[in-house]
């Protein structure tokens, strides 16, 4: 336990993004062979920290010290050379190429003269995959694998060769229990070999199962650094969220109205299978599922972005054919999409243009846009949602994530949506904005709007929803009244 056992030291790391302080003076030390759990909500700064460690983001303030030597990584390749391997959450695979090539990306496996020996490459890949107890064929093309298999290949890619520090960013999000067990075995084996592991996860049980120590980040600051055996689940949770969720967001009792949305036997390819559910006015209904469970596809279908292969959708008792988002819009369905920057806002346009983007036809009579009307529309939402921006002519890209998300919500309130679909509405935004988004959802319910939410954060679901549907492999496998269930039950159902 002496100081010279420290493999990695990150000293007063600070990182600023436009409008947000993503990391504020973070200090972390990790010892050789230690498994460090890195905890925090989405947007707490975990990913940013990892990207700085790997050289994907430039280091602005602070120091990275590896084996006592200060290092500056300008490019991910330089950190890889130091033995720092990262399994990113968003997979970085070469889809049209083989598994073996993905594992050995950027290297030459083979004989003399720099030539590649496919046979050797296959054999080596086999060895690594065997270590992981995986029977994936090394010569299979990547795009034909399941999400879990792909995850396995990513792990294989990271652990082969010289690895000193292995960072795993939610490695289990797509794995079933069998695969997770295999993963644990691998991690322990790596630990024995002296590999240091930084393990990021949302799942408490994993943290207690596998880590030696945990570091908790909140809003870009380090708020906790504990040995795993000396802490408790409750302590960690309260460190992560600051306050208890239910205290922070007390749920109001709201009168439920008639059923405004009814979905019957909807399927989409093999991603959504025979899904039926309903939503009442004034109700918040949540969908929970792990990666690949089909929740995102279901929302795309409900908004007409993808066209259901079969099934019926009724809005206020009337069957509608959702062939394009403009049909959904016509029936007062609004959509806050998953990927804010790619699907939610046009970052190169102004706040005003974004707020009115679903409502252009009402910006004046005839063909022309009446700028007075436009300004009036925008100002209304500035006040109501307390959007923090200099004016409606500000470019959206200069806003913080939370304010961008409010712009997306405003866009659909502007349409007076009766049904609002929110796909991970609080991903990557700060705690303050989160609370405001929840408040907005609640206010909407009071006005008789029905809200559907997809979220991967169970505390959020438990705090704000009235009912929960759990999805797996495209099917709904459970329905609960939120008051009558808990985190363990939902997680267990979703992951087995």
């Amino acid at each position: 336990m002496s100081e010279n056992n420290v493999v990695l030291e990150m000293k007063s790391i600070t990182k600023n993004f436009p409008g947000v302080k993503a990391l504020d003076n973070i200090d972390i030390k990790v010892k050789k062979g230690e498994i460090l759990g890195l905890l925090g909500e989405n947007g707490a700064g975990k990913s940013t920290l990892i990207k700085i460690l790997s050289g994907a983001y430039s280091l602005e303030e602070g120091k990275i010290i590896i084996d006592g030597e200060e290092k500056v990584f300008k490019h991910p390749h330089e950190s890889i050379d130091e033995g720092i391997k990262v399994i990113y959450q968003e997979l970085t695979s070469f889809e049209p190429l083989t598994v073996a090539e993905n594992i050995f990306a950027g290297e030459t496996i083979g004989a003399k003269g720099g030539f590649i020996s496919w046979r050797k490459m296959g054999k080596k890949a086999r060895e690594i995959l065997d270590k992981l107890n995986s029977d994936i064929d090394p010569f299979k093309v990547m795009e034909k694998l399941t999400v879990a298999e792909k995850q396995m290949v990513e792990i294989a890619k990271a652990i082969h060769g010289d690895v000193k520090i292995l960072v795993m960013d939610e490695p289990t999000s797509a794995l079933d229990e069998q695969d997770v067990d295999n993963l644990y075995k691998t991690i322990r084996k790596l630990k024995e070999m002296g590999v240091t592991i930084i393990y990021i996860s949302h799942r408490m049980e994993e943290i207690f199962e596998i880590t030696d120590r945990v570091v908790v980040l909140r809003d870009g600051r380090k708020v906790g650094d504990k040995l795993t055996k000396e802490t408790s689940r409750d302590e960690l949770v309260s460190l992560i969220v600051g306050k208890k969720f239910s205290e922070q967001y007390p749920k109001k009792e709201i009168e439920k109205g008639k059923v405004i949305l009814e979905v019957k036997n909807v399927s989409y390819l093999n991603k959504v299978k025979d899904v039926s559910f309903y939503l009442k006015a004034g109700e918040i209904v949540a969908f929970f599922g792990l990666l690949g469970a089909g929740t995102h596809s279901l929302f795309s279908v409900l908004f007409g972005d993808k066209i259901a292969t079969s099934g019926q959708v009724f809005v206020e008792g009337k069957e509608i054919k959702l062939t394009h988002p403009n049909i959904a819009k016509k029936y007062n369905i609004g959509y806050v999409p998953l990927d804010r920057k790619e699907e939610g806002v046009a970052t190169e346009m102004t706040v005003g243009e974004n707020i009115t983007s679903a409502n252009i036809e009402n910006l004046g009579n005839g063909f022309m846009i009446d700028q007075k009307i436009e300004k009036k529309h925008c100002d209304k939402w500035f006040d109501k949602l307390s959007i923090k921006a200099p004016s409606h002519k500000t470019m959206v890209k200069s806003l913080s994530g939370g304010n961008q998300q409010k712009v997306v919500v405003a866009k659909w309130l502007e349409r007076e949506s009766k049904i609002l679909l929110m796909n991970e509405p609080t991903r990557g935004i700060d705690v303050g904005s989160k609370a405001e988004i929840y408040k907005i959802a609640e206010d909407l319910c009071e006005k008789g709007v029905g809200v559907l939410i997809v979220s991967s954060e169970l505390p959020e679901i438990l705090a704000i929803s009235d009912r929960v549907y759990v999805m797996k492999d495209g099917e709904i496998i459970g329905e609960f009244k939120t008051k009558e269930t808990n985190q363990e039950e939902l997680m267990h159902l979703a992951s087995t």
Binding site: E342, T350, S357, I360
Partner: protein, 325 residues
């Protein structure tokens, strides 16, 4: 006027000033070398030359703002001019009908381009490259089959008057350009359609998820590109007095250069009619200047290529620099 659109869509003020300075320097340079450059005759030739590039660049402006692209318009103009000439001379069709059919050919080509690109998610430049070959071949075949020549004389009073007479001292072709400029400016800067086009270019996914029929609108923009190509076809027949299967051959590069110079990006979302027209003006001055200096034609082609690369490189380098800060 505090226009909400000017904030980023237009050229930045500094860009506009730089472009104006470039224009001034070019004019001064050419005048210095050959004082005929600013003679009335040359200016009027220049304006006429500018009309065609200008009209095509206008058509490209909304299309490229919405992330589309068409490079088949050159061949399309060749074909249209041949069709008009053949219908009128060989076919004996009424002139006005021939002109209308010519325009319809352009509209049809634009529609097909848009339909194929949008329904199959094709890369616009590749499809229109293929279209270019087909249209060029059609123009050649039609001209060969029906008149055994590459250029067909079209002698009519209305077209001749249109090309030579003026309306309050403004040549009619220039008048057409002015009208189109006003229409396009109005649509892009002031109307709901214009806003929709910018939104599509800024982010097509967001546009679709805002309930905008992106594909439909883009097909419409391709079709309108076809329409202005048709108008361009009429003008070229009127000004030159012939329908020729090589009329549009050297139009693609200058037009594309003008549009890009005017601040339109291949990534869509930015550009204005004013910027485009400034680009057209500069490109016209350069190429007219070169021909006043009696530069051989192969140089002109060379300069066209250089101009395109320098223009895009300049913007690219500036963007890289901006990204670094």
């Amino acid at each position: 006027m505090q226009d909400i659109n000017t904030k980023k869509k237009g050229l930045r003020l500094s860009d506009t000033i730089i472009l104006l300075i470039i224009l001034g320097v070019l004019v001064a340079f050419f005048t210095l070398i050959n004082s005929d450059f600013i003679a009335y005759n040359n200016i009027s030739t220049m304006l006429k030359n500018m009309v065609l590039t200008g009209i095509l660049a206008l058509g490209l402006t909304p299309l490229m703002i919405a992330r589309g692209l068409d490079i088949s318009f050159g061949s399309s103009i060749s074909l249209i001019s041949v069709v008009i000439a053949l219908l009128y001379t060989v076919g004996g069709v009424n002139l006005w009908l021939a002109l209308i059919i010519g325009v319809l050919v352009g509209v049809f080509v634009g529609f097909i381009n848009g339909l194929l690109i949008e329904s199959f998610d094709l890369i616009p430049i590749i499809l229109t490259l293929g279209m270019m070959a087909i249209l060029q071949a059609l123009a050649l075949v039609l001209a060969n089959t029906f008149s055994n020549t590459y250029s067909i004389l079209v002698m009519t009073d209305p077209l001749y008057y249109f090309a030579t007479r003026t309306f309050f001292k403004i040549p009619y072709p220039v008048l057409v350009l002015i009208v189109l400029v006003i229409v396009y400016w109005f649509i892009l800067a002031k109307t709901k359609v214009g806003r929709t086009i910018y939104l599509i270019g800024a982010n097509p996914t967001v546009a679709k998820l805002s309930g905008i029929k992106v594909k439909k609108i883009k097909i419409l923009l391709y079709t309108f590109m076809g329409l202005v190509t048709g108008i361009g076809g009429i003008i070229i027949v009127a000004v030159s007095g012939v329908g020729m299967s090589y009329h549009g051959k050297n139009l693609a590069l200058p037009t594309l250069s003008a549009v890009l110079l005017g601040g339109i990006s291949l990534m869509g979302g930015s550009g204005t009619v004013a910027g485009t027209m400034l680009g057209v003006l500069i490109v016209t001055v350069i190429f007219n200047g070169l021909s006043v200096l009696n530069v051989p034609s192969y140089y002109i082609q060379l300069f066209q290529g250089l101009a395109l690369i320098i223009i895009v490189a300049a913007y690219e380098i500036r963007n890289n620099r901006a990204a670094m800060n």
